[in-house]
């Protein structure tokens, strides 16, 4: 029997390291076609709110996931950082988005990637380890009112990062629309979100990032397995 205050003394000398982080960027189309009495922008808002709430109800993911929201749309067309990367308990509420204007997809994705690079740099400087970031790009139509050069640059950046396993990029087409420019962000794999399934998509997204944020070394993302679980919200084109 050990008669010492070892545990009490040792506890004082432990490090309180920040937990490993998972950056997740939602890059969302808020162009006019998301409004116009289609109800899509309302569903998107409800979905994002549900996503925030489900993360807040999950202690592990709350502590590791840092969420950013980038929008592209408006008139004149612009990409905006609505929320920079931070934990949802710090953000407290989900953003409320309004639909209008054009669809500057490339500008939106480039802004999302710039924010992501900046965040990774801040992790490196602080010595915080992090998981492979997620980039979710959602749009209901082809790019419009954009710079073609920006779109090409964004597609090239995402393609390079995807090949190098530097990002998990998920392009999601809202509804059954052919969208080759959006598909180019996903190594050809474009998922189609059923217009009545925003909630299911965000529930699925929460579950997926929850698994990613508790992965241990050697547990890399199985992309095929991930896509196979997307049936609750996706439809075949």
């Amino acid at each position: 029997m050990i008669k010492s205050n070892f545990a009490m003394a040792a506890n004082k000398d432990l490090y309180d390291n920040p937990c490993q982080r998972l950056p997740v960027c939602l890059c969302l189309d808020i162009s006019g076609s998301m409004g116009q009495n289609t109800g899509k922008i309302e569903q998107l808002n409800k979905g994002v709110e549900l996503f925030y709430k489900s993360i807040q109800d999950d202690e592990i993911t709350t502590n590791s996931a840092e969420i950013a929201v980038v929008t592209f749309g408006e008139y004149p067309p612009v990409a905006r950082c609505v929320r920079d990367f931070s934990r949802v308990d710090i953000q407290q509420t989900a953003p409320v988005l309004k639909a209008s204007g054009y669809t500057p997809l490339g500008e939106g994705v480039n802004l999302a990637l710039d924010l992501l690079e900046k965040k990774k740099e801040s992790y490196r400087k602080a010595g915080i380890s992090y998981f492979r970031p997620w980039l979710i790009i959602m749009s209901d139509g082809n790019p419009e009112g954009h710079s073609p050069a920006e779109l090409t640059r964004a597609q090239k950046r995402v393609a390079e990062m995807t090949v190098g396993k530097k990002v998990v990029a998920l392009p999601i087409s809202i509804g059954k629309y052919d969208n080759p420019e959006l598909a180019a962000f996903g190594d050809g794999a474009l998922l189609h979100l059923r217009e009545d399934s925003f909630s299911n998509f965000f529930k699925w997204l929460h579950k997926s990032i929850s698994e990613s944020s508790s992965a241990t070394p050697g547990e890399d993302l199985d992309f095929k397995k991930l896509l196979a679980t997307a049936k609750s919200w996706s439809s075949d084109f």
């Binding site: 029997m1 050990i2 008669k3 010492s4 205050n5 070892f6 545990a7 003394a9 040792a10 506890n11 000398d13 432990l14 490090y15 309180d16 390291n17 490993q20 592990i60 602080a126 010595g127 915080i128 380890s129 992090y130 998981f131 492979r132 530097k166 508790s214 992965a215 241990t216 070394p217 050697g218 547990e219 890399d220």
Partner: protein
């Protein structure tokens, strides 16, 4: 002489999933060579707990048999021979379990000591630290690449090129510590590239208590403290250079000495007991009879005997000729 001890506990994540602890530790010695090893099985590999166990068993045995050769051979050929023996054993294990060798993936950390020299081997994440009579220092940091859940395993195609191996003289080093990334959550600072002094406190226990008691104490500490800060399995294995008990006691602080003697600090009666113990130790720098010891601390022999008995039980006094006792310390008590 080196004392070795350690623990490996199942992480909260694995406990809820019913997955076995994938961290494995081993320690072996043959009287001249002492080896400790730790392997962290890959989360994605179905039988990584078996692979990790095979790796620590294989490498500890290998260094027991081949320390001198490994120390004097060039690093590349040592890496090659270690890699070959590990892969050969894992291939056989894969056949025995009818699985792919990738299902047995694990990291590997190992330190072997013989005479005044040591060899350290590190593949993947986890941390190797040491104590050099000054503080605990990090010897080898985790190799994770950019992302937290990416590392290198014995079964990785690039494993041979990712093995880090270092050989050197012990110099002032008196302890080595291996820990998994789960334990590193609390015992290692990636920002400062520093290791916690709690490791030193852990290995100090080995200088004072039995191996089983120390194992129970650190397992309990890992279960109630370290393991609560992460979902991952947590493990540590260490070796510490053994000094005589009396030398260790003499180097302790006043409070540590009180703790060791089981003396509460508050009362004057207890402080008197402490002074008597110290007096006996000091007095016994040369061999003394029980009667002389009792007289020295102003007690009848039947009470003096109790003090002597405690110190003998703790290994701080030795029995000499007849009814005489002595301490064999080379250090004067304060």
């Amino acid at each position: 002489m080196w004392l070795m001890n350690g623990t490996a506990i199942q992480g909260r994540g694995h406990r809820s999933e019913g997955t076995p602890c994938q961290d494995k530790i081993a320690s072996k010695c043959n009287g001249t060579t002492y080896v400790i090893a730790l392997a962290d099985g890959a989360g994605s590999a179905a039988l990584s707990h078996l692979g990790a166990e095979k790796c620590v068993d294989t490498i500890t045995q290998y260094f027991l048999e081949h320390f001198d050769k490994c120390y004097f051979d060039d690093e590349d050929s040592v890496k090659q021979s270690i890699y070959e023996v590990l892969i050969e054993n894992l291939k056989q294990l894969a056949i025995d379990n009818n699985c792919d060798i990738k299902d047995l993936a694990s990291t590997l950390l190992c330190v072997a000591v013989s005479d005044d020299h040591f060899i350290a081997v590190h593949l993947g994440d986890g941390i190797i630290a040491f104590y050099d009579d000054d503080s605990v220092k990090v010897y080898s940091s985790p190799d994770n690449g950019e992302f937290a859940n990416v590392t290198h395993f014995v079964t990785s195609s690039n494993a041979l090129s990712k093995i880090r191996i270092r050989k050197a003289e012990l110099s002032e080093i008196t302890a080595f510590y291996l820990m998994s990334d789960g334990a590193g959550t609390s015992l290692y600072s990636p920002q400062q590239k520093a290791a916690s002094n709690a490791l030193k406190m852990m290995s100090d226990l080995s200088l004072m208590y039995s191996k089983d008691d120390v194992h129970n104490e650190i397992t309990n500490f890992f279960t109630t403290s370290i393991g609560t800060k992460t979902l991952d399995d947590c493990s540590v294995v260490y070796m510490v250079k053994h000094k005589r008990m009396i030398d260790t006691f003499c180097q302790m602080s006043y409070n540590e000495q009180l703790d060791l003697l089981g003396i509460k600090r508050a009362t004057s009666h207890e402080r008197k007991r402490y002074r008597r113990f110290c007096d006996v130790i000091r007095f016994c720098e040369t061999e003394r009879s029980l009667q002389a010891i009792s007289k020295r601390i102003k007690l009848k022999p039947k009470y003096g005997k109790k003090y002597v008995h405690v110190l003998v039980e703790m290994g701080m006094l030795k029995k000499g000729k007849g009814n005489a006792f002595f301490n064999a310390s080379s250090i004067k008590i304060k």
